[in-house]
Subunit: 234 residues, 4 copies
């Protein structure tokens, strides 16, 4: 269902090319991007495709445009971003994260309100699986998806887990990148990622609607920062 159309696909490809240049250091923080016209020519794409790429690069905080002055590189993502993912996939992964932010924060709030004991148990089991996988050094991709799915399923609204199911492939690709970056990082960083999941579980356990929404939103926001900003996590 959720398949990108042609404009998106070409825009995503161009996004990936510019991303690659930022990650590799060809374009540095503060550098100005070529003009829209120049990009149309040098990448041989139409103006809507260039705009599509620029809107997303800006949405993801990688570039910023200043009225009249052009578009400038704003921050440099960790180099692992283009090593663990196809550069042309990154734009779609971040669009997906933007939708997840809206859907899953509301799902977490509803889960705190309506979850049954057995739904809570499902969330807890997925949390334990994440911890176990992390200890063995595996990437807990399917455990991570299972965790988020279990929270959505506890919302008492079957449409929430259905949206996640539809995005399954895209979500797991994003998790693979984020968890790969985490595995390469410090033990503290891995701990933080686990803590964020634990905080979501705890808030749903004690039926704290506000905390549950907040903890989910915070987790996804940090996730976004981890994959887009190399200065982010120490």
């Amino acid at each position: 269902m959720f398949t990108p159309q042609k404009k998106e696909r070409l825009g995503d490809k161009l996004y990936g090319q510019i991303l690659q240049q930022i990650v590799s250091g060809v374009l540095r923080e503060g550098d100005r991007l070529p003009s829209e016209n120049q990009m149309c020519q040098s990448f041989n794409v139409s103006r809507p495709v260039v705009r599509q790429a620029l809107v997303r690069l800006q949405a993801d905080g990688l570039v910023a445009s200043r009225q009249g002055a052009g578009t400038f590189v704003q921050k440099r993502p960790p180099e692992g971003l283009t090593r663990f993912a196809e550069p042309s996939d990154v734009s779609e992964m971040l669009r997906c994260l933007e939708l997840r932010m809206a859907v899953e924060s509301q799902a977490a709030a509803l889960a705190a309100l309506r979850r049954t004991s057995s739904e809570l148990k499902d969330i807890e089991n997925a949390l334990s699986a994440i911890e176990a996988e992390m200890k063995t050094g595996n990437l807990p991709v399917s455990a991570d998806f299972a965790f988020h799915y279990a929270v959505a399923a506890a919302s008492g609204n079957v449409l929430f887990p259905q949206v996640l199911q539809t995005l399954n492939d895209l979500i797991e690709r994003g998790m693979t990148v984020a968890l790969s970056l985490t595995r390469e990082g410090t033990p503290e960083r891995a701990r933080r990622v686990f803590d964020e999941h634990y905080a979501i579980f705890q808030a749903i356990e004690r039926r704290d609607v506000q905390s549950a929404e907040l903890a989910m939103r915070y987790h996804l926001d940090r996730l976004r920062q981890r994959v887009t900003d190399s200065h982010r996590d120490r």
Copy 2:
């Protein structure tokens, strides 16, 4: 993609039967519902099906359960709700509204941030179509869907309109009920419905992120109240 499974379908049917009894006055505000056991027997369904129906009746504010004392009718929806919709469809329509609340409020915020002039024009055209249809006494169902779709499309994230597209049928059925209730109501009520759409447009026009999110959220919250509470709109 988003098709309800068996437990949901049976739960939705039972939901519809109880809803019918509340709307028709067989069950009145304050009345206690039969116990879960009794419902299993008299409707010949399993306990998970009964629970599914009760979770949603409670989510939609039609009943409330008091620990140890049972489940009681909380409010009576307008009788048009079961006249303009199949009673067994209502539960799914309200689940859909819950998801829309999450998705569309975020889409409106992003639209205020990123919309282009031509995307704004699409929103404005849909708004004019709603107004024109209302004047002729038609139900502006497809104009209403076009409005919400245009806002989602202006979010700069193709996944937002795609979610709406996937839910198209369900959303339009919900709009048919709400707009039919509105057409039967006072001119003031119709005016209010139009005003809510106008406020969303205006906030996106002046790039006011906070107002846009708020106006969309408010609109969908009022919509939910209009279809579930007969005392709601005067």
Copy 3:
């Protein structure tokens, strides 16, 4: 306690002078404001005072600055704004509204959660008083304050009404302007203002936390728009 310091007072005075020029049409939508240097000279104030005025004019949406190009008039408030209020008071009134937005939306959510029957009765009484005053053509300033105070008092946290009490004078001055503009407007507009209060009451009555927060936030957001934008309400 909350008395503006010297920088604020001078900035507010300058804000009022620029506001006056926008309202009277000396400065029109799209016009560029003089540079910071020019303003320092022509108004004989220091640069921090000019900045203080510009930050607030921008915060209130009256001007917008474009990097490298200067600061431009963005929208024109209704002329009643400077007729019903001292121009040099307007900045402070809008700062106050910004704080109220944060404090009162949370207070409304907590009131929905914790209000007692007698606290609900206080809110309802204030609502009736607003309606009665509106009918006689009086400005319901003290009834309006009483309504907002009663909501804050129902939050189960005495600090919320105490903040409103501290801001009492400032809030009532803001209400006087907004209600005077409303009294001059169409009957529909007065109706809308009443409806917004009624929606807050109803959500608190049925203990709907999400709706209560939303209804309060929406009301204060519309209020802000009514006093700052002459195109706003028809």
Copy 4:
């Protein structure tokens, strides 16, 4: 200005006495509190005073009431809570935190939007002072207050820092408790507290409105949990 009145003072005293019994283990998780009547008699206070104490114990998540069945102990705060604070002060400290949540999350969002370079520098300096104090083993109470004050001051609305100033004494007493609990905890816990402040600073630095609001809200929510729930932080 913000001085509790008699009902609050007596309610806070009773709150402190019940809190003491929960912390010391006289009342255990799951135990039922005496009835309102019994409390009136045994503590020799009026019913509104008992209600005031119960509303707040429930608001703070320490007890929960089940309709018809009474009020039960819900969770046990860390024993440091009554060692580092006067038990009769705890209720007021938590009320203050509830107001801070509303005010400071909005202030952080506005700071991300409007902060100047010198205001950002003030936030960074306070952050460095927190880190330095933590390293020497001192309680960074005034650096912590300075950090939150600097964020509020960067909001471009002088009322936000003024509210914090008014609550200065209460806020610092709360910080003393929380930071004392942190100092007794694991190094990881201290790290987490610092990280939360760092995340707020970073979001304001890169002008990310959504992240800044979220990071402040998350920090204050965790703070609340740390002081009210002994199971909270490992």
